[in-house]
């Protein structure tokens, strides 16, 4: 354990601890396809941890498993998961429902698809408060206004009454983040939340996520395929490939002294805006 | 050849095969009716009226002493003919109109689709009755009328499916290599909208049988003494108490043919999806 994880020794209990997690897809012929293989991940308080991988690496399944929201055919074959001292792997669906949104929040990739087009933004952002904390509709709406303000949406009192299509892509994603923040979760899982956004908007969203960590003290698990975003945002990085973790380390170490062949290949393949290619143009 | 049989995915095709078997049996009855049927469907036997099923008449006889089994088998001819011709009329003209509306857009689209909506706004049976009234009562006109009833449905489906395909980049790519309208429509568009249309066609088959029965029931379809399941049902109605088999037998025939076509339709929906292959 290196520099950025020093505080781990004082805290003792990580926000999220995944040990030897294996996920399998049941197949028609009876055998199972292993899609995540003995993955162990720690996320400490106030840490932003990235999982980087290409398509099929198992990064999204890993994050969904912690919420116990795996697709029907996928099953957790092995492993344990703890949120603080609460185990996640053996909770019933009902107990999980109480945890989701309350102690763990998910920020999905496509905000447009995750927002109900027929419902006012305010109602949706305030929904976790109605569900988990017994807020009345009007007090939830008021709280939603404050939440939208905290993710830098201007004139939040007015915009709570608008519908998703009246929001730009970046504002929709910020509204999703506001919804995730409603109950002050310990852990925010963000699954490629900026992939569908323009770079200038992406920069704002990344800044907002850092702010949330600094001000609210939440831990963030950030799933992405973009090395640049990892460099910009994360403290600690896990590199996944074909369902396995090939290496993990502090972000600077991953970028300056990668140990795994695959990480080196990824770094080489990622084009940079600051260098012209080695190949003749 | 053997490997083809082994690789054949029976599970995928099982709905289509079940429906196909039912329809296949009915088709065999229709085609070979004169050889399969034990009696002529027109032969009257005044001494054997309204007989219940027996060794001589497996499904009994009707009010004029005609063999019910023979009449039901012969009626399959008309019902199948109506189903195929009416569904084909609907499929062909509906697809042409729908594809043209989506492909050319603008004024063409507006004129064609408004006209389709006009047709669509009539209840199906009323539209068929009105068309029959103007075309005259005959079984051929019944087929055409039922086909026309289907056109708006097919055209809407074809138009919506074409709109989706037109947004695909392969259509743009086809235009960019200089492909003409005809080839774009026949090579790029039609094969990709065919799946939902065939599913709809299978449903239309079953609906055509019901509509023909309804028209015959109203005296507008097959003309007596020509047997059709619809007019047999109509006659049977009068003898519900004494001879319930007169209604049950053609009713069952309609039920199984509708079931068969619906199974094919549902099955095709799954089988024809190119993305569902592993």
């Amino acid at each position: 354990m290196t520099e950025s994880r020093q505080h781990a020794l004082q805290d003792r209990i990580p926000t999220l601890r995944i040990r030897d997690l294996s996920i399998e897809f049941a197949r028609r012929r009876g055998d199972a396809l292993k899609v995540v293989d003995r993955v162990s991940i720690d996320i400490w308080p106030r840490e932003i941890v990235g999982i980087i991988g290409e398509s099929g690496s198992g990064k999204t399944l890993t994050s969904l498993a912690t919420l116990r929201m795996l697709p029907k055919r996928a099953v957790i074959a092995k492993g344990t998961m703890h949120l603080g001292e609460t185990s996640l792997h053996d909770r019933s669906e009902r107990e999980m429902r109480a945890l989701r949104g309350d102690r763990i929040a998910l920020i999905p990739q496509d905000a447009m698809q995750s927002l109900n087009p027929t419902m006012r933004i305010g109602r949706q952002v305030g929904e976790p408060l109605e569900l988990h904390s017994g807020y009345s509709v009007s007090s939830a709406l008021e709280a939603a206004g404050k939440l939208l303000g905290s993710v830098h949406i201007r004139e939040p009192e007015k915009r709570v009454l608008e519908y998703p299509h009246q929001y730009s892509g970046g504002m929709q994603q910020r509204a999703m983040i506001a919804m995730g923040l409603a109950l002050n979760p310990q852990l925010i899982i963000a699954d490629e939340p900026t992939t569908a956004l323009d770079v200038t908007v992406q920069a704002q969203v990344l800044k907002l996520l850092r702010e949330i960590r600094d001000q609210k003290g939440a831990s963030i698990l950030f799933i992405t395929h973009d090395l640049g975003v990892v460099a910009e945002l994360c403290d600690w990085v896990y590199v996944m490939r074909n369902g396995e973790i090939v290496e993990d380390g502090a972000v600077r170490q991953i970028f300056t002294a990668p140990r795994a062949e695959y990480t080196r290949m990824l770094l080489d393949a990622t084009p940079s805006i600051h260098t012209t290619p080695a190949v003749a143009r | 050849m053997i490997s083809v049989l082994r690789d054949f995915d029976w599970r995928r095709w099982r709905l289509v095969l079940t429906g196909g078997t039912i329809i296949g049996l009915i088709l065999i009855c229709a085609i070979f009716a004169p050889w399969i049927a034990p009696y002529s469907p027109y032969d009257l036997d005044v001494v054997a009226m309204l007989q219940s099923p027996s060794g001589a008449h497996l499904l009994g006889t009707d009010e004029l002493g005609r063999d019910l089994l023979s009449r039901t088998i012969h009626a399959a001819r008309i019902s199948m003919e109506v189903a195929f011709i009416a569904a084909s009329v609907g499929l062909i003209f509906g697809t042409l109109i729908g594809v043209a509306a989506a492909y050319f857009g603008g004024l063409v689209d507006m004129v064609l689709m408004r006209f389709m909506e006009l047709l669509f706004s009539f209840p199906a049976i009323l539209l068929a009755v009105v068309l029959m009234a103007s075309l005259g009562t005959s079984i051929l006109n019944a087929m055409i009328a039922i086909g026309i009833v289907f056109i708006p449905g097919f055209s809407r489906l074809a138009r919506a499916a074409t709109e989706v395909v037109l947004r695909e980049q392969y259509v743009e790519a086809a235009r960019a290599i200089g492909m003409g309208h005809g080839r774009i429509v026949f090579v790029e568009i039609l094969p990709n909208i065919l799946a939902p249309l065939l599913v709809e066609a299978a449903v239309a088959f079953s609906y055509a049988i019901l509509l023909e029965s309804a028209l015959s029931f109203l005296g507008l379809g097959a003309q007596p003494p020509e047997p059709s399941w619809g007019n047999m049902l109509n006659t049977g109605r009068g003898f519900m108490g004494q001879a319930p088999w007169l209604s049950i037998v053609p009713g069952a025939a309609i039920f199984f043919s509708v079931l068969g076509f619906n199974l094919i339709g549902d099955g095709l929906r799954d089988v024809l999806d190119p993305y569902m292959k592993e």
């Binding site: 770079v199 990344l206 910009e232 300056t256 080489d268 393949a269 805006i273 143009r281 | 200089g178 190119p274």
Partner: protein, 263 residues
């Protein structure tokens, strides 16, 4: 080779009742690309970059302005000249999932351009398809496969093969790598560069990804809200951006190189 003067495109929506609405997707765009060079057009969503590309492809008529490709005015193209133009200018599209007819084999897809232009015999077309597949790094047997049997990267290889099978002079690429994983993207970009080099192509490459644009372009045009805000050589644009928007765009890109420099 390619020259645009004051090109504009307004999408109008004429309604039967009520006022019609208008929307300017592209405004006063002038640019030129020299023979054998690549122009990168970079912009965010709604910048009009894809619309501009479709205008140059002749798929959408411009509302105003003129476009000349290889000395030929393509805005008022006569029907007779259209086929020749199609042969000269070819696209590579963005989405590997939708750029091919799912019901046709790769061989049929690659043969279509040759058939449409009546080039070669049955046998020579088949040979040409095999040759092109090998050229883009795929085995000739892939001609028998269907698009859904290929990976995203393989599909984009086929897309490049389809674009150059007619030996065009100009290739217009619309985000051809944005749906791919980085490792695959690097290979497809390499193939694009090699092909361009080998065939002496003039090209326009549209992308939202500044890093990709930097890798493939000789000159760069930055688009915003339908206008070109800045244009210049690739080194000038990235090293010394003049326009505020260009600077903001470059600053917003998260860059691994920056963190390595800190170390």
């Amino acid at each position: 080779m390619i020259s645009l003067t004051d090109v504009g495109k307004t999408f109008g929506h004429t309604r039967l009742f009520g006022a019609s609405t208008e929307f300017a997707a592209v405004t006063d765009v002038s640019l030129s690309v020299a023979r054998g060079k690549t122009l990168g057009i970079v912009g965010e969503s709604g910048s009009g970059k894809s619309t501009l590309l479709r205008i140059i492809l002749g798929l959408i008529p411009p509302t105003s302005g003129s476009i000349v490709i290889d000395g030929q005015d393509i805005v008022n193209l006569r029907r007779r000249d259209e086929k020749a133009f199609r042969r000269k200018v070819q696209p590579i599209f963005q989405n590997p999932a939708s750029s091919f007819n799912p019901r046709q084999s790769i061989g049929a897809i690659l043969k279509a351009p040759l058939e449409v232009h009546g080039i070669g015999t049955r046998q020579s077309r088949r040979d040409r398809v095999s040759e092109m597949l090998e050229r883009v790094g795929l085995p000739a047997e892939y001609a028998a496969r269907h698009p859904h049997q290929l990976s995203g990267g393989q599909k984009q290889r086929v897309a490049i093969a389809r674009a150059v099978i007619l030996k065009p002079a100009v290739v217009l690429a619309d985000e051809p790598t944005s749906a791919l994983d980085v490792s695959v993207q690097a290979q497809v970009l390499d193939l694009f560069r090699e092909t361009r080099e080998a065939m002496g192509l003039t090209s326009i490459f549209v992308s939202h990804n500044l890093a990709v644009i930097r890798q493939v372009s000789d000159t760069v045009a930055v688009m915003r809200l339908g206008r070109i805000v800045e244009m210049g050589s690739v080194d000038a644009i990235f090293a010394n951006p003049q326009h505020d928007y260009t600077r903001a765009l470059i600053d917003a890109v998260p860059d691994p190189a920056a963190i390595m420099a800190q170390a």
